[in-house]
Chain length 182, copies 2
Amino acid sequence: MAGRAEITPLLAETFREHGYEGASLALICKATGLGKGSLYNLFPKGKEEMAAAVLDEVEVWFEREVFAPLATGGPAATAKMFDAVDAYFRSGGRVCLVGAFALADTRERFAARLRTYFTRWIDALSIALTAGGHKPRKARGRAEEVVAGVQGAIVLARALDDKAAFARVLERLRRRAASPQA
Amino acid sequence: MAGRAEITPLLAETFREHGYEGASLALICKATGLGKGSLYNLFPKGKEEMAAAVLDEVEVWFEREVFAPLATGGPAATAKMFDAVDAYFRSGGRVCLVGAFALADTRERFAARLRTYFTRWIDALSIALTAGGHKPRKARGRAEEVVAGVQGAIVLARALDDKAAFARVLERLRRRAASPQA
DNA sequence: GGATTTATGGACTGTTCGGTCCAAGTTAGT
DNA sequence: ACTAACTTGGACCGAACAGTCCATAAATCC
């Protein structure tokens, strides 16, 4: 039988595509190929647990692929972050679940986790930028701007139905982060 | 009796706070103080028409307060845009409905309007930046970055539950827009 | 003042929601 | 081969959804 590990990515795409409330159990069953009995067997606490499992997966991936590598510091680490982020968001073809959850009723359900995700990202990027020559206080402001920029690039790409918009904004953020004086 | 003009702003806040799907008719009745009969009298096509009326109001406001004034061009127009945007989003205390709609199932319902809103904003800001000394092609990239940045600042403020994050990011965007060479 | 029209609110409707239940199928153990 | 445990899917449940209906109230017209 399929386990949580196989099912959670499918849940993730369903929540990204439709949002928490838009992703009905009927849609989730269709996307996962499971009946409700099976879903509830894997996630006994129901839909909220499914979304929590998805957030777990997102956090684990970002910690491993983005936040921890940033600790090596410097421009190479920052550039690697941009590469990872570009790939993860499929160059603008994929919604950031955390950002989407922040803009809906889901925010209240997962408030601490949404906050931690962004705090962690900004902290990690601050450290990398500081190691790369940015003054600490400016680094933090820069990090916030970059993380906000990534989120905004996703919104823009989605609203314009234009992945290239994401790519252009990301490229600008990348160049800016690479330059301590700008 | 209260008309659409009085009711639509209340609808707008309800959709901003809860999202399209999260804003049930029960919530909408509560927020507007009307019964269903009255709501359906004002908006015979139902909930989707209420949301469309809200988008109308958003577009009219942005056209009048942001896009049209940008046509006067130059740094003063751009600065004025930042002032208007800061006030409109209550310094980070208010969600951008268009952005929120772009990240949920509502995107499909209102695709053309969401696209037009952002296209209009980027075009208008491009023109203002070009009049302010930015090279046209760079102005367009800059405009995209600014608009994306505003959206991202809203997501960040919301997720972090910290309006000051919005203010900081907006300030950086403002300074960047004011400087042709950065 | 009466007749007509419009606005009103909430009971009601059919549908969909998240979640529960359980018969049947599958797997594991002996 | 049999038994027990586990997994499965979908019928079913109660609640909530968007929307309809209609008796009543209010407004408008003459």
